[in-house]
Assembly symmetry: C2
């Protein structure tokens, strides 16, 4: 069933308050990957917990232990759990989201201070780190809660929440917690969950809402090549000694070629060629080469063929060279490059990568030293979209956006997706709020105001459509 | 003739004051490559000028115009000229040195604050940025001036000084000034100069003083590969678009191999193979593989053969990959690698490098954009060491150190050397003060106290030995 008209009206009438809520959240620089900002992640957890409590949600802040970051031992941010409703006749939906963000500095090229929500009235854009990834979506749920609370309308389903503060840093501590909590059965917070809904990805383009049923996995390596005990003068030592930077560049050049082909034998081959039938799926998506180039900000698509480009993102592994440091003023002494490999279906890719790099390094015949670290990863995931939760999201999208959604798979990873799917044995839906050009992880991240407001309506409507679906189907 | 005993005694007796002088200079962070420190370079110029004036040297601070650095228009530091003595019966020696330094930050791995001279009493080392490169040597000359001033002994030669503050940043503005000043003939500050002496390099090892008669040139490129309008999420865009980092790594891997061989066709070939006779020169130098590995801080020599390793530094071109940036927290958005090529004798190497990189880039077939910038350079130089100035330095070394000096060529560049040689048409001598493990341009730069004190005696004694040589020979 569609959502009540009062709910939709409430959302429209409270646009300003909802944007203010997002502004308050963006102001907290909850960067999980930077020890300096760890307290801010805790602050953001408290902010979110109090918002949930204000609208009648019972909450629990779960300590997840400690870890080491940049040589410091730090407390992990807590997971914030919530529950509201315990009506056996209703379905129970578990909502996941994260309240931590990627780093951002004005000097990276932001046109506005990243931790102040800046409204562009002419375009309707709300700029700020975390606006789209993932504070906008989680506050969309809070908006839904507020509407029902203030209007005194009962929620159509029971809701459970699991919000974390380490998603941008490998979700440390969360998997173990979820598995332990699920084991508790009736005594656990996830008891009775019928499906999971996650809003932490994006539309394919800027026009068409989508439902997402697949994610690539991620495996993230750091390669360190070292040799001298200190930085050396290239005039004095050049051509006398093995130079780590030369070896490192040689190694990195053997991982992937310009066209995106992965040079590590066996990795590309893990994925079967697409059949003509599967190719048709990608042909049909509302997407163009112009879309990818507009969101990338350059005419740099790997092909002129739309299906090829989409399959590159949705069904092929990719290997990106993420960063490298060496011999710069202000840079660290060690060479410190990272390499991110997005895989599709083989969790056993890591030994392949490591042994290849080691063997290529041996071929160099250098006296430099090599260390390969496997930093963190996320498993790939594909869901069955022929399910009542997807059907509910499909109908909700048609009601709010008057459009048929795309059915997509994503190139990025949300590691917890598979954990929920496996641990709870229920369907997981990715229901994005933002657009393909939101710039998550990049400079000038934004969320369109219309996506925030209509997205809030979509989340609420989805719950009503879920309530109508056959339980346990 | 040897220096007067009183002079040598004065130097020993004023050790503390001389070290204090060096400490005052090290405290001024005169980093020429950093706009933030440009005022400090000016401060260092004034400090030096007042020191020269205090001991009777007539000085002139010469403005060298302005330049652009990191997008800012900045005044170049002045050249400090000095002259003392105008006795036609004496030889006239021109001393060159520089008062700017390389960048240094404690966080780079310094064990002491880089801009505070720190004495290690157990080893006799004086740690600090610029201690050896090049504040120690230029203050060595000031020490010599003070000794003669305080003792009221006339100097055995006429002295001219030319000190600059942009050596670590390509000596901008200096060449033009020197050429113009030389053109003035009798009205110029360099009129009547018989030879040039520069103390701005190092012994080959930690034991044996040396005289240096050759330098490699330098040509310094920056390669920028760009594509997207902003940093992109590798999950979302990986294998959809051409990635600048992949292209950049591919390009850089085609410049030099692990063994130091330059892969740009024609560059290595510009230098003839060494004859067996020339090889003997390197065999005889007081130098071992252990020396290079000790000063590099690792067992990383390119060969076990001493002559091969020494020729790599002294007579072969080298290509080092100096730095690279991309897609890091806090790093700039553009990819920003640098490549330094040390050449031996062909100033025409640049077009070769540029066209090779362009053609290799074309082969990649990428839609990324390539920009190659030729940042700055220095010409290679080889001097005739069968000259009275070298003979004077040889005798002075034997008198002070009781050792026969090595005759060396250096891998690094001091661009002004060739300018003086060509513009004045006189012999140029490199007479180093510091040791091979001083760590110029690196962390924990130091000057041994004994090198500073004995080096001051050496510089003074050299002047007496010059006075004895046949003028104009």
């Amino acid at each position: 069933m569609p959502a009540p008209a009062d709910f939709l009206k409430f959302v429209d009438g409270n646009e300003e308050a909802f944007i203010q809520r997002l502004a308050s959240a963006v102001e907290i620089p909850s960067i999980s990957g930077d020890p300096v900002h760890r307290e801010d992640v805790f602050r953001m957890a408290s902010f979110l917990e109090s918002q949930l409590q204000a609208y009648g949600v019972e909450t629990k802040s779960v300590p997840l232990g400690s870890h080491e970051l940049d040589g410091q031992k730090l407390q992990l941010p807590p997971a914030i759990l919530g529950r509201i409703g315990n009506d056996k006749s209703k379905k129970t939906v578990l909502i996941y989201g994260h309240f931590d963000v990627q780093p951002a500095e004005l000097s990276d090229g932001w046109t506005h201070p990243p931790f102040k929500l800046t409204r562009d009235e002419s375009t309707g854009r709300l700029y700020g780190r975390g606006s789209s990834d993932d504070k906008g979506p989680i506050l969309g749920w809070v908006n839904v809660l507020q509407a029902h609370h203030d209007l005194k309308i009962p929620l159509p389903v029971n809701l459970r929440f699991c919000f974390e503060g380490m998603e941008e840093s490998g979700s440390e501590g969360l998997d173990e917690f979820i598995l332990a909590e699920v084991k508790k059965g009736k005594d656990g917070w996830f008891d009775g969950v019928d499906c999971v809904c996650i809003s932490d990805n994006y539309w394919l383009n800027t026009r068409t809402p989508c439902l997402t049923y697949g994610l690539r996995g991620l495996t993230y390596f750091k390669i360190t090549v070292s040799g001298p005990g200190k930085d050396l003068h290239s005039g004095v030592f050049g051509r006398m000694v093995y130079e780590p930077m030369t070896d490192l560049i040689a190694l990195m050049s053997k991982l992937v070629d310009s066209s995106g082909k992965i040079l590590i034998p066996g990795v590309d081959e893990m994925v079967q060629e697409a059949s003509e039938e599967e190719r048709q799926i990608y042909e049909k998506l509302d997407y163009s080469i112009k879309d990818v180039e507009e969101s990338a900000g350059g005419s740099i698509a790997l092909s002129d063929d739309k299906a090829t480009v989409l399959m590159g993102r949705m069904r092929s592994p990719s290997l990106s060279l993420h960063g490298i440091e060496g011999a710069f003023y202000g840079a660290r002494q060690d060479r410190d490059p990272r390499e991110g490999l997005r895989e599709v279906q083989h969790p056993n890719v890591n030994p392949l990568v490591i042994s290849y790099i080691e063997s290529e390094f041996k071929k160099l015949g250098s006296k430099s030293k090599l260390v390969i670290e496997d930093l963190h990863g996320g498993k790939p995931w594909v869901e069955d979209y022929d399910h009542w939760s997807y059907a509910a999201a499909w109908r909700a999208t048609e009601e709010i956006y008057k459009q048929t959604p795309d059915l997509t798979r994503e190139g990025g990873s949300i590691p917890v997706t598979l954990t929920f799917a496996e641990a709870l044995g229920v369907n997981v839906l990715l229901l994005p709020m933002g657009r393909g050009d939101d710039g998550a992880h990049s400079t000038n991240e934004k969320l369109d105001k219309s996506n925030y407001i209509e997205g809030t309506k979509l989340l609420g409507t989805y719950l009503y459509e879920v309530a109508e679906g056959t339980k346990g189907q």
